[in-house]
């Protein structure tokens, strides 16, 4: 039986900005309910700028101004106890962040310190996170881990700028999975990689997941990767999860018009016919359209769409959609 490991309850995280004296609110995460199980790979896909990274930041409790947690709860199941992240102090958050969850941030290849050798970065990381082990011992673990990932040990002697983007990304992933966390959260972890290496990294993430029986939350644009690893996929649009279903359903039988566009825009080999992207432009999260945020771009728009945000309709026990076309919807908690 699956157990919930991470839950969010009407989560709202907004960027509150002060633009020339007037307050501007960017609703990047707007009423998100997630229920993520142990031992599953949960994929999140969606348009650039729809708030995926922000959602992950909220999940790992890395909420810093201008981002603010407006409402809702983030609940972790840690060793049988339910923990509300908002109630933790800085130190406890930091501990949780590295020992329980590990987060590979987006664009993490530019987070490596450019003026020190990777060796130093590893040493610092191990020094600040592993206690009770001598430095040499810990360093051995790191080396083994690198070899596991198929990374040459020689990179330890290189500076980040001497490595290709792909190599840098793999180094960061290696760093983040070093402590065998229960939840691995990856924000576009394979985007900078070539398909062969990407496959290797996906293979590795799957291996780690299989061994540790832990949870992976994977944000990626690459619908191919998503199809390959995710058990369930949530489609995000304008700060909301608009559709969530097992992977097969999302690809085979998408119900939300945005998801349908997304799946249709994927290019296929052997077919050079023009593929359209979603019409119109992405919504400004600081100035959302009324009702369903997709309505200005939706081909099926109805009067009610412009007025009211649809609730979730359950098409199947684990397939929920927020769209008036599909049903009246009800608030799920």
């Amino acid at each position: 039986m699956n157990k919930t490991i991470l839950k969010t309850d009407h989560l709202k995280a907004f960027y509150v900005l002060d633009v020339h004296g007037t307050q501007k609110v960017v609703k990047a995460v707007n009423d998100v309910n997630l229920d993520i199980q142990e031992n599953e790979v949960y994929g999140i896909a969606g348009e650039s700028g729809c708030g995926k990274t922000t959602l992950l930041k909220a999940l790992v409790a890395a909420i810093e101004p201008p981002l603010r947690l407006m409402d809702g709860k983030i609940l972790y199941q840690v060793n049988g106890k339910e923990i509300d992240v908002a109630s933790l102090d800085q130190e406890a958050k930091r501990k949780l962040r590295w020992e329980y969850i590990s987060y590979v941030p987006q664009g993490s290849m530019s987070v490596l310190n450019p003026v020190t050798k990777l060796k130093e970065t590893y040493r610092d990381f191990i020094g600040s996170h592993v206690s009770g082990k001598s430095k040499d011992e810990a360093f051995e673990i790191a080396k083994e881990h690198l070899l596991d990932l198929g990374l040459p040990l020689k990179i330890l002697d290189a500076y980040p700028h001497q490595l290709s983007g792909g190599m840098r990304q793999r180094v960061t992933i290696a760093l983040a999975t070093l402590l065998k966390p229960r939840i691995i959260i990856g924000d576009e972890p394979t985007t900078a990689l070539d398909v062969v290496v990407q496959r290797g990294v996906v293979q590795l993430l799957k291996d780690i997941q299989g061994k540790l029986q832990n949870t992976i939350i994977l944000v990626t644009h690459d619908m191919g990767v998503q199809a390959n690893v995710a058990d369930r996929v949530g489609i995000m649009y304008a700060g909301k999860i608009v559709e969530e279903a097992p992977t097969e359903t999302i690809y085979g039988n998408p119900a939300h018009p945005y998801t349908q566009y997304l799946i249709d825009s994927l290019p296929k080999f052997g077919d050079k016919s023009t593929r359209k992207s979603v019409p119109g432009s992405p919504p400004d999260l600081g100035n959302l359209p009324s009702g369903c945020p997709f309505h200005p771009r939706c081909p099926h728009v109805m009067e009610i769409c412009k007025q009211e945000m649809p609730g979730y309709t359950k098409l199947e026990p684990n397939h929920r959609v927020a769209c008036w076309l599909v049903g009246e919807g009800e608030r799920l908690s």
């Binding site: 900005l17 002060d18 633009v19 810093e64 101004p65 201008p66 530019s110 450019p114 003026v115 700028h161």
Partner: protein, 283 residues
């Protein structure tokens, strides 16, 4: 203005800012001084603090209050000359070395490394002895400026080296931006926090150095500074004779000045730290 508002949230900044304002007021008061600080015997000698002589008078027949106003002004002047000039040198050397690289870099870094390894204090003392004849506020400031830049130039250089590898450098180049503008507009914002916080540190260092040189008798003792005031008080054995107001005034002022500069530097550098700043922009 917004910057000030943010800074005023930090008590250390408020306190140090207050102290500095007070000291600046003292310095400005010198323009209304009834006495010439260079002259002796203008007032009765060795008077304790009273309503007429706020902080008493010294054995040279000078009013300690007005004298210390001059001392604060002159010490700050030396510190500013040394601080600003050495920042200019540090930024120029660091940026040129970092951006040009190659031979230029090696030569400049050789110079700054040499400055870092030689025993600075001895060199300064020797040079001060050499130029003793023409020692005034400006030469003292220049002398100190020549020795206070090496470390910061190195830091700026390494900063530039890493910025040069970032993609926005290429974006700027493709936007047609020339080298000078590139360095000033793209890289300077990363160096400013460092320049500001080290400016203040360097001023503190210069004031300390000035005091040391003065106490060793290597500066022009006719110019009142915090250092020379202490030097005179010590040589007249003010403490022994119980003229505590004469020696304590410059000592307490110096302590105030150091504390103020230290807190100012800490609070400003925290504010300007590029990492916290990136998060704050737009906030």
């Amino acid at each position: 203005m917004k910057i000030l508002k943010d800074l005023f949230k930090d008590y250390r900044f408020v306190v140090s800012f207050g102290i500095l304002c007070f000291l600046l007021t003292l310095a400005l008061l010198t323009f209304f001084s009834p006495y010439d600080p260079a002259l002796w015997g203008e007032v009765p000698r060795d008077m304790p603090p009273s309503s007429e002589f706020l902080l008493g008078t010294n054995s040279k027949g000078q009013d300690v209050f007005w004298l210390s106003c001059f001392a604060v002004r002159n010490s700050l002047t030396v510190a500013l000359i040394a601080g600003i000039l050495s920042r200019v040198i540090a930024v120029t050397v660091g940026m040129v070395a970092g951006y040009k690289g190659g031979l230029t870099d090696r030569v400049l870094m050789f110079i700054s490394d040499s400055l870092l390894v030689i025993p600075l204090f001895l060199i300064i003392v020797m040079l001060a002895m050499l130029v003793r004849e023409m020692m005034n506020l400006l030469t003292l400031g220049l002398l100190l400026a020549c020795f206070g830049w090496a470390w910061d130039a190195r830091v700026i250089r390494s900063q530039i080296l890493s910025l040069r590898e970032r993609e926005f450098t290429q974006t700027a180049i493709l936007s047609g931006t020339g080298t000078l503008k590139l360095v000033l507009k793209e890289y300077m914002p990363f160096a400013t926090p460092l320049v500001f916080s080290t400016l203040i540190n360097n001023m503190a260092w210069s004031i300390g150095m000035e005091m040391t040189l003065a106490i060793l008798g290597l500066t022009n003792l006719d110019i009142p500074t915090l250092g020379t005031m202490i030097q005179w008080a010590v040589s007249y054995q003010a403490m022994l004779l119980g003229y505590w107001w004469w020696i304590l005034t410059p000592v307490i002022l110096s302590v105030f000045l150091f504390v103020a500069l230290y807190w100012l530097s800490v609070s400003i550098s925290e504010y300007l730290d590029p990492r916290t700043r990136v998060q704050r922009v737009g906030a």
